[in-house]
Amino acid sequence: MGDSETSGMDPVVAVQGLTKRYGVQTALDSVTLSLDRNERLAVLGPNGAGKTTLIAVLATLARPEAGRLRVMGFDSVSEPNEVRRRIGVIAHGSYLYEELSARENLQFFGRLYGVQDLEARVETLLKLVDIYPRRHEPIANLSRGMQQRVALARAFVHDPDVLLLDEPDTGLDQAHLTLLASLVQGRAIPARTVILTTHNLERALELCSRVAVLAQGRLVYQAASAALDRAALHDAYHRLAGAAP
């Protein structure tokens, strides 16, 4: 994707007062955050804090009742397809068709995104996530961890500027957690802006340059990882999120 949409000063992701309700339940309550180019934010929170809803709203899969989201300067309500073109999402589900092979899945999603030189891109990604030898097997035949690696490749197929990762480490073994870290941190591929949700405080500190805590739909804490003392983050997390230490 091109870099021309935003000037160096504009945030890549700008969220202002985002509110999402499901019936009487408020899942997100006036969430405001901003991320610059190549910044990596980990959103921590207990179950039900609103992490998945935050990713769904940022991914344009759920419409907020109030607030505004801009990605690379494009508004998520008036220009949703421009936003979608610039984000890659990994969620709880792999979004993969189990009757199709890893290669066919990536080809399908690549065609939806209008990826140029698709065959070469698919081959590169299959090798990157270490699925290449089993690229012709149906997804249903692959293990949960392998499917998650194909889902990683799917999220990267259109070379997005922004990555939204909802607990992306689910089902990955140690070797592929290292792969995930290298993708998120921009070592295996060019760096990009990342928003990642996790329960794991250590992983959040390891992967991201900033950490935020979401509790009952509200963003109650934000700090740069480098400035954080781990014990202080643990204390703050358990106090703010209301989880047992």
């Binding site: 969620a91 589900g93 979004y95 189990e98 199709l100 065609r111 995104y113 209008g114």
Partner: protein, 222 residues
Amino acid sequence: MKLTLQQVLAIVQKDFTVEMRARDLLVLMLTFAVLSLVIFYLALDLWGPVVQQVGPGLMWLTITFAAMLGMGRTFVREHEQGTLPGLLLAPIDRGALFIGKLVANLLFLFIMEAVTLPMFALLFNLPVLRPSVLLITVLGTLGLAILGTMFSAMAAHSRAREALLPLLLLPTTVPIIIGAVQATSNAISGAADGPPWLGLLIAFDVIFLTLAYLLFEHAIEG
């Protein structure tokens, strides 16, 4: 425009490949259609002019119910496999997504009809393979597929999706079933007078295709 066409073709090709490997939708529709025709043939003692009067109705009942069974799977399968968000994440106009799903559904319905119509002609000795009847079948099937695709997307969000689709589809397809039955009856008997049933089918297809294209975003995003 080129990208939109590429996206539509990608969806059609994907749905076709998935169906050829899963074989649940086509097998379901074909089994139902063939069984229905056999039951009609054995249970109803139809002969002579009675066949000409009742035959078109039986043919369209079979097509409608078989289509209902199959089209219900279009979005239910996406929903059950958890692949729908992946489609919705793509930068594709929801209208183009609708067209892709509609074309895939039409393809499956035409395959079902390619088996059902010759069998119907054989069992009931009616000339349903003549060009005028085939044109009516294409127009009627298009109408069924438009509504089926639209309502399948709406029903996919509901827990009672299997029951909801027939409840939504049956009342709205009444004009198309009546139009298709009457037009088929006229085409078989060679009658040229009466209301312009073919015109009704064309008008129905154009109006509902336009409405579905414009409203699909609200149906699919719930």
